[in-house]
């Protein structure tokens, strides 16, 4: 198996039938996605909500047919040979409510293990061990309807890992988990891949830190297109030639906005976040000297500089550089256009 996952010019368009008053139309979810993921890789798909991450996972897990192009998982075509792909994969989605509330955690997990052909002995042993790993062993015999969202998500995570798949898909796995639990889950995910070089994990997230901390390589995806694909270090390194400053300044009160800074020479991107009692600016500059014109602009508008910090680039900066907006802004824009 050369690639654990491979896609070639993969596209997916949804036909939206609309209601009685609206005309049917199409929604392009993925466009010409080319990915090559090797066995043993922990690969991240990073993008805002609606970027196409879940659609890509659905295609790779044989739940959705591509409109055009091809995808292979564990060496098999997902559209033509789903029966060969399915025994080798598993998937966990953030916030899913799978299983039955009347059954206990252990019973729910056992039921799903049977759909993968695991013997009850092996299944029970794996379930017990994994519940201990995620810190849920004391709730093993609790009804799943009695679990909080976070605990339920831990149960889902065990469901994904217990079949020990060749390729595991995690779609926003830490959604709904508290900080401590997220950290534990991330540590386990990393160790699961590191334990065996034949295991491959594809993780989608819109948490930059999660992708940065966990992934061997990351693809940044927006509006159905893969904009960049490399290691987090390389992606950030490509930004090193640019300089990133974080500024906290007194409130603008309508005298300035992000567009005025973006118009200044040497300023590549500006993220403006109004805070309680001050304004936060993140500037990506072509060179340090460009900061002078920013400070001059602030002075001329009688805006006081409260804090100035030169930053190492993060994946969020990479995203801003590629998309022109922060992930939050893209998501807000998406929500507005949906309304």
């Amino acid at each position: 198996m050369d690639f654990a996952i491979r896609t070639k010019k993969l596209s997916r368009t949804y036909k939206i039938h609309g209601g009685k008053k609206s005309e049917p139309h199409s929604l392009v979810a993925l466009t010409d996605v080319n990915l090559e993921i090797h066995p043993g890789e922990l690969f991240g798909l990073l993008g805002p909500n609606g970027a196409g991450k879940t659609t890509l996972i659905k295609i790779l897990t044989t739940l959705l047919a591509p409109s055009t192009g091809h995808a292979w998982v564990a060496g098999y075509d997902v559209a033509d040979e789903p029966e060969k792909v399915r025994p080798r994969i598993n998937m966990v989605s953030g916030g899913e409510t799978s299983g039955y509330g009347l059954l206990t955690v252990r019973e729910n997990l056992w039921m799903f293990s049977q759909f993968y052909g695991l013997s009850s002995g092996v299944a029970n042993r794996n379930i017990k061990r994994l519940l201990e790993v995620v810190g849920l062993s004391d709730r093993m015999n609790a009804k799943s309807s009695d679990l909080s969202t976070g605990l339920r998500q831990k149960m889902n995570i065990v469901r994904g890992f217990m079949t020990d798949p060749d390729v595991l898909f995690l779609d926003e796995p830490t959604l709904g988990l508290d900080v401590g639990a997220s950290r534990e889950v991330r540590r386990f995910i990393r160790s699961w891949v590191d334990d065996n070089p034949t295991r491959t994990l594809l993780l989608t997230t819109h948490y930059m830190v999660e992708a940065d901390e966990l992934c061997d390589r990351v693809a940044i995806i927006n509006q159905g297109r893969v904009l960049a694909c490399d290691t987090p270090a390389n992606l950030k390194h490509n930004l090193q030639q640019e300089v990133i400053f974080r500024l906290e300044v007194s409130p603008f009160n309508g005298s300035l906005n992000a567009a005025k800074f973006e118009a200044l020479p040497g300023v590549c991107n500006v993220i403006h976040r109004p805070q309680d009692g001050f304004e936060s600016l993140e500037l990506i500059l072509e060179e340090e000297q460009a900061l002078a014109s920013v400070v001059t602009t602030l002075n001329s508008a009688n805006i006081r500089l409260l804090n100035l910090q030169k930053c190492e680039p993060s994946l969020e900066d990479v995203f801003v550089k590629l998309v022109g907006q922060s992930m939050e802004e893209v998501e807000q824009k998406g929500e507005t256009s949906e309304q």
């Binding site: 047919a65 998937m91 759909f115 993968y116 052909g117 013997s119 034949t198």
Partner: protein
């Protein structure tokens, strides 16, 4: 596929020559395939239905007490008009069989729809098992749990109203019951895919089908009371012939009040079982294909 040996799941993961074609080395664990996987799936999916009985006691009221009230009403009417005593037995058996119809109509048929709403359907489709095995498991679980309810209704009804049985052939009775259940749950499995496609609108079908089926299947009286053609059309619902045959086999006056002879009813039930189970298989395959092609059946967003 070459595998490395640093296996965190010891012992079980090694494929041995004895495993033959029924096992498969996917990942590092031995996973059953073929009929073993099919059987495992049927049992595992039946499990929630059966185990749920002990944990959700509301069925004692809704599925035992309420049907018994209907049985009582008919028994008192028949006693008031001095109908033959076997009619009381007809009503008790009919009341018990109502439990199966209600289970198929309100639970089995809407099961895939609820699986979708809960987020289970996509996970089921993604597993290596057959969706037909999952659907069979749902049916088996429903059948076993409803059999318990039906038995309770028969025992209580028989004790309350002193019903006298005269079973002419246990073998035929068993065959009729099994065939009626096969055909009925086959119909339910077929309806499950249909309901999934129709989503919430399917509720109207259930509402619409409840009372007419009570009437035309002869739950509380022999269908011979209808004209031949009405009874013949009603026979497409498996319980109609199943109930008629069972009454013929367990009551003295049964054969004289039967629609057609028991052997003919057994043949028709065989045909219905085959037709409904095959139709269920094709409907399910179509539903799965549609789900993957359009991506709108396994999720609610689109």
């Amino acid at each position: 596929m070459k595998r490395v040996s640093n296996n965190p799941y010891p012992a079980s993961g090694v494929l041995t020559p004895q495993d033959g074609l029924q096992s498969f080395e996917a990942g590092r664990l031995r996973k059953n395939m073929g009929w073993r996987l099919y059987l495992q799936t049927v049992i595992a999916r039946a499990y929630p239905r059966i185990i749920g009985q002990g944990r959700e006691k509301s069925w004692l009221f809704f599925d035992i007490f309420l049907p018994l009230l209907s049985v009582c009403a008919y028994v008192f009417v028949y006693r008031a008009i001095r109908a033959p005593e076997d009619y009381i037995g007809f009503v008790v058996v009919g009341g018990a069989m109502t439990a199966f119809w209600m289970n198929v109509l309100w639970s089995m048929s809407s099961q895939l729809y609820w699986e979708k709403e809960q987020g289970n359907l996509a996970l089921f489709i993604m597993t290596p098992t057959s969706m037909m095995a999952i659907l069979l498991g749902m049916a088996l679980g429903g059948l076993l749990s409803t059999t318990l309810r039906a038995l309770v209704i028969i025992i209580l009804g028989s004790l309350f109203f002193n019903v006298q049985y005269a079973v002419s052939s246990f073998v035929q009775l068993f065959a009729v019951f099994i065939l009626a259940m096969l055909a009925l749950y086959g119909l339910g499995m077929m309806a499950a895919s249909l309901y999934l496609l129709l989503s919430r609108e399917a509720w109207h079908i259930s509402n619409l089908a409840t009372e007419p089926v009570y009437l035309f299947s002869g739950f509380y009286f022999p269908i011979k009371s209808f004209t031949f053609w009405i009874s013949a059309v009603a026979s497409i619902i498996p319980l109609t012939l199943g109930l008629d045959a069972m009454r013929q086999l367990v009551f003295k006056s049964g054969p004289s009040l039967g629609f057609v002879s028991v052997p003919i009813e057994i043949i028709v039930l065989c045909v219905l079982s085959i037709v409904f189970l095959i139709a269920a298989r094709y409907m399910l395959a179509y539903m799965e294909k549609l789900a993957i092609r359009e991506g709108r059946i396994t999720e609610n967003r689109r």
